[in-house]
């Protein structure tokens, strides 16, 4: 039973968990007695957390199971499941993974699990929180597993709802503004994508990604036979939604607000998973379906990506607010990822995917750490800290690892991804050395803002008296951070198994089939891990 429905179990187990959490008795996150004080009526709910924890842990086990059953290097989608869903319109429940999807699903279940562990101390409306976290997990895993355009759209949109609540209920001062902005930005992009999806279905008679992207099928032939003008508009309908989600300059303005105002778990999942949905969309849908259009418009995207890299880094450097700084680094790092995607070079694309995962790990870590500092001091101002390395040695050490990873120091995961991306950009005929220089500038700047941040907040003498008595990491916090630290070095030193998984994955999503007119093809596609050994 589980063997055939592993992916469905991965997708829907959290949803079942959410229903169970809803039914958990005891103090509902929102209490029935309206007269009681806020602190007593809306408390934590241990049993709700425990159920969520068990579900999230089971998700990890299922994810590992999927990883073990996954055969790298085999073309096509694996763990595939199909069932009729809306037969009137030929829409089916169709899920499957390749290396790309599987890696992102693993990242999702890992980060969600860590968020659940971290959120065990939540005191405010915790039952609702756990429900939304679990619904979010269902939707995120669904996005990376769906192989039907409409099914994908459903999950893509459902992601918005729990995140809207996570930001809006548990966020900081301007949470409502941030939540609505986040929702509306994404929603505007996606309704246009919906029109595009409907158009594709009407014109080709199929909503199956596999049918649409396997050359020779009727659907693919019809799609390719559409007038160039229509294909270009269709491409933009999809690309706009993904650009907003990534986010690419100039659609990035929702990101700092949402990241800063969101609670820690919300920021981690936003940066760690939700941004990747945009990258995933480009690779999974735009590239195989609208390859020519994507190539034609590449200069626009490359230029925007370089702007994002440099602009995001410069803006990040001058932020007085630690969380906002980390948020802007996401703009910069996602710019590098998009450079890799639009290099259309196998190395660059592999790097882009790895960098997506890496960014999830390193930025997730940074958001966790900023959240932990906030828990202690109730401020995120960099100026409120200073010298806390002496008070919090362990936390500071972990922060340094995260900073190095974010700044792409060799031996950390960030280096592997960014190096491959830069190599790909340099080699590709679409981008070339100029863009590689832009990307490299981003790497330099990332060292600037990260190290400067570390210096101001952690080094030197203890400036504020309030900082002298801060407790160092608790067991719970260590449990959250240790897996991430391990992954930073694992990816940094030995990335082969993950890249091997991607090999098959790239084949399935057609990335390697893209005609790459590489300028210097003397260099064969290098074994990606060579550079870091």
């Amino acid at each position: 039973m589980l063997e055939q429905h592993l992916l469905s179990a991965l997708i829907f187990l959290p949803l079942i968990g959410a229903v169970i959490v809803m039914l958990v008795p005891g103090r509902a996150g929102v209490a029935a007695s309206a007269s009681a004080h806020a602190d007593t009526s809306t408390g934590s709910n241990r049993s709700a957390w425990l159920v969520t924890f068990i579900v999230a842990a089971l998700e990890l086990v299922l994810g590992a199971q999927a990883w073990l059953r996954f055969r790298p290097g085999v073309a096509g989608f694996q763990l595939r499941e199909m069932a009729a869903w809306l037969p009137t319109f030929g829409i089916s429940y169709d899920v499957g993974v390749d290396g790309l999807g599987l890696l992102l699903i693993l990242l999702t279940v890992l980060l969600t699990f860590l968020c659940v562990v971290y959120s065990g101390t939540l005191r405010h409306r915790s039952k609702e929180y756990m429900v939304f976290l679990l619904v979010l997990e269902t939707a995120m895993v669904g996005v990376f597993a769906a192989l039907d355009l409409v099914l994908f759209y459903v999950f893509w949109e459902v992601v918005l709802i729990p995140m809207y609540f996570l930001i809006g209920i548990w966020g900081h001062e301007r949470r409502i503004y941030a939540a609505v902005k986040f929702f509306l930005f994404t929603f505007v992009g996606s309704v246009l994508m919906l029109v595009g999806i409907v158009f594709v279905i009407v014109q080709t008679g199929s909503s199956s990604l596999v049918a649409l992207t396997t050359s020779g099928t009727e659907a693919a032939t019809r799609l390719a036979g559409l007038p160039a003008q229509q294909l270009l508009l269709l491409y933009w309908a999809f690309a706009l939604a993904f650009m907003i989600k990534v986010p690419m300059f100039p659609f990035h303005t929702w990101l700092p607000d949402a990241h800063v105002e969101a609670p820690t778990a919300g920021s981690v999942l936003l940066a760690g998973v939700l941004l990747k949905m945009g990258v995933y969309g480009f690779l999974r849908f735009c590239l195989p379906m609208f390859s020519n259009q994507m190539h034609e418009t590449a200069p626009i995207f490359l230029a925007l990506a370089v702007i994002a890299v440099v602009y995001g880094a410069i803006v990040a450097a001058v932020q007085p607010d630690m969380k906002k700084l980390v948020a802007y680094t996401s703009v910069s790092h996602m710019g590098i990822v998009m450079l890799g995607v639009f290099s259309f070079h196998p190395t660059g694309m592999t790097g882009a995917i790895l960098q997506s995962i890496n960014h999830g790990i390193s930025t997730g870590m940074l958001f966790f750490l900023v959240g932990m500092l906030y828990d202690r001091r109730h401020t995120r101002e960099i100026a409120a800290f200073g010298g806390i390395r002496r008070v919090l040695p362990v936390l500071s050490a972990v922060f340094l690892v995260a900073a190095f990873s974010s700044a792409a120091l060799p031996l950390t995961n960030g280096f592997v991804g960014e190096f491959l991306v830069l190599q790909g950009i340099y080699l590709s005929a679409f981008s070339g050395p100029l863009y590689a220089a832009g990307g490299a500038l981003g790497m330099v700047l990332s060292a600037v803002y990260m190290l400067w941040l570390f210096q101001r907040a952690f080094c030197g003498p203890v400036v504020h008296e309030a900082n002298r008595a801060l407790p160092d990491l608790s067991i719970r916090e260590k449990v959250v951070l240790v897996p991430l630290v391990a992954l930073v070095f694992w990816f940094g030193c030995y990335v082969t198994p993950w890249v091997r998984a991607l090999g098959g994955g790239l084949g399935a999503s057609g990335i390697l089939k893209v005609q790459v007119a590489s300028r210097q093809d003397k260099l064969p596609t290098p074994e990606p891990q060579e550079g870091v050994r």
Binding site: T42, P87, T88, E128, F165, F183, V195, V202
Partner: protein
């Protein structure tokens, strides 16, 4: 003998309407007995039972295949009317449930309310079956007169009276327009039967000034009922002023009756659609944009839902454009049936969400406190999380977010419009719904995010039926959003 058998058959075909009428009469006959406090809940229960019986009769008689004329061609029963009637009776049932606790809390629980509601419902039902303009007019009036009284049912409230008067005057005006159009159509075609008028249109009647005027007046009359711009002015005031349970009722049922009738009328006029299609298309675009943009600034939820009703009329008019294109082009011919299916499904999704939303407002109302504004809903999640999250579902459904019925409905409209090849219209719908998302979300954030004040939960008894209505609507909204397939077959116009 043959004639008698025919009449018996015809009455059997409209059995649900007969049941509704009997229910209304029984309620009125029993009214004096229930007046004095004893058995105050009997009329509510009777009307609920009556509508349920009508629903059962409908499902029992649910005939597939092509339609049949009834009563010498005055009525016409086909899959469209059956599907529409199912949605209509469901909406009526939910509205009756919502009314029961609310009327009591407002101190206006009177048997006549239920009798009028059921009669109105039968009028809307007749609109689905009409195949003659004269019958359509009578059905329209039967439906509307009930609405007028229901709007003014809270006699002590000046706003309710104002709503009733506004509704009545504009409604009477619309009826007059419709009647005038009917007369002109009769003059052109020599008959008020759809069949004859269709034939006349086929002969080019719409090219004559009189035919054109007839078509324009008929569309204007129905445009009033569905609240399409520029015939929408009554909507916000009436929605706001009427008792919440009445608003819930006519918000859903008027749309169902009028849009199915609109399909029939447009079908009748399809032969000359090049004349009126651009007008309807423009009307759709203006209606959806206007409704959504004005709703942005509304702080009264009932008023906001009034503007939202206008916006949804716009989306449905977009489906009407596809219906109208059936005879125009090859794409149009393919888009007609999906558009009709979309309309019926949309009406169902809209009815569930709207009645559910008004139901939450009604359920939260108490003696001396009529819940209307966003401020009234502030912090609702802390006092009644179930109601708050049900309201969230209705708002998401109205906004067309996936995993709710509203998404599947909107998807079908997109599908029909794209098949018809009208991409600009599809993009307009998309952008209009993005605008709409803002004010639907605002309701959610007032209820769920804001914890500064707490909405008190009324403690008076008798709100169980309304809660049942809310739960049914919420459950159905999710069910139809996740696995819509099981009802799509039943609701589809072509089988």
């Amino acid at each position: 003998m043959e004639a008698v058998r025919q009449v018996v058959h015809d009455i059997g075909a409209v059995l649900p309407i007969v049941i509704l009428w009997v229910t209304a009469i029984v309620i009125l006959l029993l009214a004096p007995l229930t007046r004095r406090g004893v058995g105050w809940h009997v009329p509510g229960l009777l009307s609920t039972a009556g509508i349920l019986a009508a629903l059962a009769a409908l499902i029992r008689r649910n005939e597939g295949g092509f339609g049949t004329g009834l009563f010498a061609g005055a009525l016409y029963s086909d899959t469209l009317s059956t599907a529409g009637a199912f949605v209509l009776l469901l909406a009526g049932l939910l509205a009756v449930l919502v009314a029961q606790g609310y009327l009591r809390s407002r101190g206006i629980e009177k048997p006549e309310y239920y009798a009028l509601l059921v009669l109105s419902l039968s009028g809307a039902y007749l609109m689905l079956l009409a195949s003659d303009l004269l019958v359509l007019f009578l059905a329209l009036e039967l439906m509307s007169f009930g609405f007028y009284v229901l709007a003014g049912f809270e006699r002590t409230s000046s706003r309710s009276e104002e709503a009733a008067l506004k509704y009545f005057l504009t409604g009477a005006f619309a009826s007059a327009l419709f009647l005038y159009g009917l007369m002109l159509a009769f003059g052109v075609a020599g008959s008020s039967s759809f069949e004859y008028i269709q034939a006349a249109v086929g002969r080019g009647a719409l090219k004559t000034p009189m035919g054109l005027a007839a078509a324009a007046l008929l569309l204007a009359g129905l445009g009033f009922k569905v609240a399409a711009v520029p015939f929408h002015q009554w909507t916000p005031d009436v929605y706001e002023g009427s008792p919440t349970s009445s608003t819930a009722f006519f918000a859903a049922t008027a749309k169902i009756g009028a849009f199915v009738a609109l399909i029939r009328v447009l079908d009748m006029l399809a032969g000359g659609s090049q004349v009126w299609l651009p007008a309807v298309r423009l009307m759709a675009i203006v209606t959806m944009l206007f409704g959504n943009v004005i709703a942005l600034s509304q702080l009264n939820v009932k008023r906001m839902l009034g503007y939202s009703a206008i916006a949804h009329a716009g989306y449905l008019l977009a489906a009407m454009v596809c219906v109208g294109m059936r005879y125009v082009s090859a794409e149009g011919a393919r888009s007609g049936m999906p558009a009709m299916n979309a309309t019926v499904f949309y009406l169902l999704a809209y009815a569930l969400a709207t009645i559910g939303a008004f139901g939450v407002l009604a359920c939260m109302s108490a003696r001396g406190r009529d819940v209307q504004t966003l401020d009234h809903l502030r912090g609702l999640v802390r006092t009644d999380p179930a109601a708050a999250y049900a309201m969230m579902l209705f708002m998401l459904s109205l906004a067309g977010i996936p995993a709710t019925a509203g998404f599947i409905a909107k998807w079908q409209v997109f599908y029909a419009v794209v098949i018809a090849g009208d991409i600009p219209l599809a993009v307009t719908i998309a952008l209009a719904s993005a605008v709409g998302a803002y004010y639907y979300l605002r309701v959610v954030w007032y209820m769920v995010f804001d914890e500064s004040t707490i909405a008190p939960v009324p403690t008076e008894p008798g709100r169980t039926p309304a809660a049942v209505a809310i739960y049914i609507s919420a459950f159905a909204t999710v069910l139809l959003g996740v696995v819509p397939g099981f009802l799509m077959g039943f609701l589809s116009v072509v089988r």
